[in-house]
């Protein structure tokens, strides 16, 4: 069970309002994307959910419990892979389990194999390509004991081809684990291809502009990217994003 509720969150630095009355919900097992222009306060929102700072006003609930300023309740995958250069892939993947106590080496081996990285268990991160590193980073967050995962533009540094491959891979893995995911991106297509719902944020101060339900059936394939309803929804979202009130 893992349900995240953001309720009327305000945050500002000095006179500069960053988040203004942000509210949304991520249900158990749901894949929700936050879509917004760069600098729309997405990373601030992540800091709040991660408990690194407390909101000026409003509340964040995880499974009905208020978690303002509490760290360690979510699992996280940052924009850069953030792998530890002195740890082998296996040790990197096990990091979050080490932090909380119990390590499951067998499962880690399974996941590494599932990610197509068999044989790299004892390699160091610098020996891997960008896409491989991101896969390791994602496995690490999946193996974390927490059942709520925040992904912060994880594929933005990858080239187009690798990115689509990674998205498909992410979906296939996620389908097995059914963890709740909050995915931050500024790529409309990516958000549509991956999520159940898309929350569009306005730029500073960020507030929820509109919510879209993505109706396409899972499992999704690449063909979807060029279909009529997909393009129509994309147009819709695009206009919402660019339109100023």
């Amino acid at each position: 069970m893992s349900k995240l509720v953001i309720k009327n969150v305000y945050q500002s630095y000095g006179d500069h309002a960053v988040l203004e009355d942000v509210s949304f919900v991520v249900n158990q097992g749901e894949f929700v994307s936050l879509l917004g222009p760069s600098g729309s306060g997405k990373s601030t929102l992540f800091r709040l959910i991660g408990g690194l700072s407390e909101p000026n006003d409003g509340a964040i609930y995880l499974n009905g419990e208020k978690i303002n300023g509490t760290r360690g309740l979510i699992s996280y995958m940052p924009q850069s892979p953030s792998l530890f250069p002195w740890r082998t892939i296996l040790k990197n993947v096990l990091l979050n389990q080490e932090l909380t106590g119990v390590t499951n080496v067998e499962k880690a081996h399974q996941m590494i194999e599932r990610a197509g990285l068999k044989g790299y268990e004892h390699a160091y991160p610098h020996e891997l390509s960008g896409g491989m590193k991101q896969r390791v980073s994602f496995i690490r967050s999946l193996l974390s004991p927490q059942s709520f995962i925040c992904l912060d533009e994880p594929f933005s540094a990858l080239d187009e081809f690798t990115r689509v491959e990674m998205q498909k891979w992410l979906l296939s893995i996620w389908a097995e684990y059914q963890k709740s995911i909050l995915f931050v991106t500024h790529n409309i297509e990516e958000a549509m291809f991956l999520s159940d719902r898309i929350i569009v944020l306005s730029s500073r101060p960020a507030t929820v502009k509109k919510e879209f339900i993505v109706p396409f059936q899972r499992p999704r394939t690449e063909d979807l990217l060029l279909m009529e309803p997909f393009l129509r929804l994309k147009k819709d979202i695009y206009y919402t994003l660019t339109k100023d009130e």
Binding site: G51, L52, G72, P78
Partner: protein, 257 residues
Amino acid sequence: MKRMMQKGWRPLLVLILLIMAWEFSYHFFNIPDWLLPAPSSIVQEALIGWNEYAHHLLSTVQLTLIGFLIGSSVGIIVAIGLHLIPLLREAFYPLLIVSQNIPIIVSAPLLVIWFGFGMLPKVIVITLVCFFPITIATLDGFQQTSRELKHYMLMVGATKQQIFWKLEWPHALPSLFSGIKISATYSVMAAVISEWLGANEGIGVYMTLASSSFRTDRVFVSILLVVVLSLLFFTCIVYIEKRVIRWKQVEEGRVDE
């Protein structure tokens, strides 16, 4: 290794030429032995005199090892303390630097006045010389911890202790080793200086005796011993470093390609 062999011949050649020039001018200008002995007679003295200086050498090696171990432990502990307690760092960092501005040659006699002629003042001298490069380098390593990785550790809820042992400590290890390498070379010199203060045996004693009796060849032998010891010590540290920090070594190897 192969590349080192390929490049190593240049300094080696210069060295050989220098020694040959030395040997030549010794004979050509008829320099007296007490002023500057020929390299050949220094080598000869080094070979026959082994029995005379073996126990001095052993004593210096022992002193160096003890002093170095204590000095580097102090260095590491001070670095960790100053890093974990910012208040201490602000208070003591400037004092640390001042401590290095006092010449050992001045502080050493003071130590003898306070602690006598035993092992203790000598170990303190070596410690004073050794801890500083290690503390400074390690502190730097801690400070330069990747912000990105630290942010990650905070996001996933790592405690302060976990952040230290799993992130900051391994991150500072390469810096720690560069500090240790500097200290290792200094420690032999510091041991010899501390022996000048008053000791029964040691290369420092051997050197003092030799120079006061105008056995200049023996002075050069002791210089040779100090150099060889320092190099040996340095090589040992480099070897340990390579065993401990494997990931870095591979990384650098790749950059080279």
